[in-house]
């Protein structure tokens, strides 16, 4: 294992110290392990709070700032955070209008956020939860814990964050978050595994000519393991899965993200985006907005995830609203 770290045990604390030093717009509570806006809570506005295991940076800390999250709770690498963090975040971020927990659908995240919601409720903070479950690699059935939450998290946080910034109430912010999630689908393919500092060994193994199709953000195995394919075939496979789950008709508008899993050069993400654009063009489906880059990573895993949100006018308008965070910034 080769990592630019000081010790596997201190990765999260060290990184949080770095975030604190790098971003004067953020406030990092090293004790409580939460990242909030330096400006404090926005009085009278709903506060969006998210969190999850670390190792997916810039998610979530990189999305804290005006127009997006109010607070992020980073867990240990690939381990969901604990209720204490979420409670501290709710207390620090609540501006009196309640908080929305944006929760990726993993047993650990769900259970910990559930406990935190209870604690925050006891504390007099109104809590609504938006569960993100966009990964079509997992077939939702009685056989699974449900779909995993992946790339759509970025869309939910941006769009619901924009509505919260405009002063909408708790129910409305949660509602748009749920609508964005319901309109979004993701699919990921890994070309190489990743290694958590604590484990010291790759979470899975892939032969030199193999790829993991439908991989999860913790490197959980996906639908199948296949021979490595050209980018266009990987894109087609991923978008086929997405379109099969949520058909999109010619003329419909979307927001599309081609996201690097951490170890994939940006030039390759652009290669993939060209194939994505072609796939959409062939079907007459419009890509109204896009993101190409590393937004929700899995440490140094090579590969990409694809997220498609069928966007209505309100979503697009909120997408375009100003945002000022370390990882996503425009209009500010």
């Amino acid at each position: 294992m080769k990592k630019l770290i000081n010790s596997p045990d201190t990765v999260l604390d060290d990184a949080l110290a770095g975030v604190a030093a790098a971003h004067p717009t953020l406030k990092v509570d090293l004790e409580a392990r939460i990242i909030t806006r330096a400006g404090g809570p926005s009085v009278g506005k709903v506060a969006l709070i998210s969190g999850g295991g670390s190792g997916h940076e810039p998610l979530h800390g990189g999305f804290v700032g005006p127009g997006m999250l109010h607070a992020a709770c980073p867990g240990e690498v690939f381990t969901s955070p604990v209720p204490d963090q979420m409670l501290a975040a709710a207390q620090a971020a609540d501006g009196g209008a309640g908080v929305v927990f944006v929760v990726k659908n993993y047993t650990g995240d769900v259970l910990n956020f559930e406990m935190a919601a209870e604690l925050a409720g006891d504390d007099g903070i109104e809590v609504a939860t938006v569960l993100v479950d966009d990964d079509v690699a997992v077939k939702d059935s009685t056989w699974t814990a449900g779909r995993r939450g992946t790339g759509a998290t970025v869309f939910v946080e941006k769009i619901a964050g924009a509505l919260a910034e405009q002063g909408a109430d708790l129910a409305s912010v949660a509602e748009i978050g749920r609508r964005v999630n319901a309109a979004s689908r993701s699919f990921a393919v890994a070309l190489s595994p990743c290694t958590t500092p604590a484990a010291g060994k790759p979470g899975f193994e892939l032969a030199e000519d193999e790829m993991e199709v439908g991989v999860g953000i913790h490197g959980e195995p996906g639908r199948s393991r296949e021979k490595l394919e050209p980018a266009a075939a990987i894109v087609a496979r991923s978008l086929d899965a997405i379109f099969a789950d949520q058909p999109l008709a010619a003329g419909e508008e979307t927001i599309v993200m081609v996201n690097g899993l951490g170890g994939t050069p940006l030039i390759e993400l652009y290669v993939a985006y060209a194939d994505v654009a072609k796939y959409f063009a062939e079907r007459g489906v419009r890509i109204a907005r896009n993101l190409v880059g590393n937004y929700i990573t899995s440490l140094e895993m090579a590969g990409a995830s694809f997220t498609v949100c069928k966007a209505d006018e309100q979503m697009l308008a909120l997408w375009d609203a100003p945002v000022n965070t370390p990882a996503l910034r425009w209009g500010a």
Partner: protein
């Protein structure tokens, strides 16, 4: 089981998690995300620290403190689930000692808490597959008038069998469920740590 034994049990769990960290992580890397060993070790290390200087009034206090600490320090699926198990168990045990029957009833409440929270049933390939047979064995022994040492020994054996028996199962809960049929053939990490917890109890209570 008295307060001292309860403390010793929890400290011994911490030692066991230290020792089995890599094994648990390895099991979790096959069908999960390779953190179960680290999670359990981090949690029980924190528990040991939290118990240091803590003055419990009863056996239950130790276990409630253990559960609360696990919830605060572990994260992941195992944190809230084991946290709830120890908290719910501890809440039943108000006295300075607990006999086999009291323990059996308390453990049952712990398992009920786990199942209420995680919604896993027997055969879902989770910690429940070790906890449920363990508690059944413990309860049967207690009802038959056996002492807690004997009950714990039987529970440990049942938990170990339960953990082994998760191998052919397909996971229906937690991260392993994403693998579908590919989860078959691997032992569940949470069931394995549950078996360790009961093996430790048996050792601590052994006369």
């Amino acid at each position: 089981m008295d307060i001292h034994q309860t403390r010793t049990w929890v400290r011994s769990i911490a030692a066991a998690m230290d020792q089995h960290k890599d094994h648990l992580t390895q099991l979790d890397s096959a069908i999960g995300d390779a953190d179960h060993g680290v999670n359990m070790q981090r949690g029980f290390t924190a528990v040991v620290a939290a118990l240091d200087g803590y003055e419990p009034a009863g056996v239950g206090d130790v276990l409630v403190k253990t559960g609360t600490t696990l919830i605060s320090k572990v994260g992941g699926a195992a944190g809230p689930l084991y946290g709830t198990f120890f908290r719910a168990t501890g809440k039943q045990l108000t006295g300075p000692v607990a006999d086999a029957e009291q323990l059996a009833a308390a453990f049952d409440a712990g398992l009920a808490g786990v199942q209420k929270l995680g919604a896993a049933v027997l055969g879902d390939k989770t910690m429940v597959d070790a906890l449920a047979p363990a508690l059944e064995a413990f309860g049967a022994a207690a009802r038959a008038g056996e002492d807690e040492a004997t009950a714990a020994e039987k529970a440990a054996a049942a938990a170990e069998t339960g953990a082994k028996d998760t191998i052919p199962l397909q996971a229906r809960k937690g991260r392993a469920s994403y693998l579908g049929s590919r989860s078959i053939g691997h032992q569940d990490p949470g069931a394995t740590s549950a078996a360790l917890i009961f093996r430790t109890l048996a050792e601590v209570l052994k006369p």
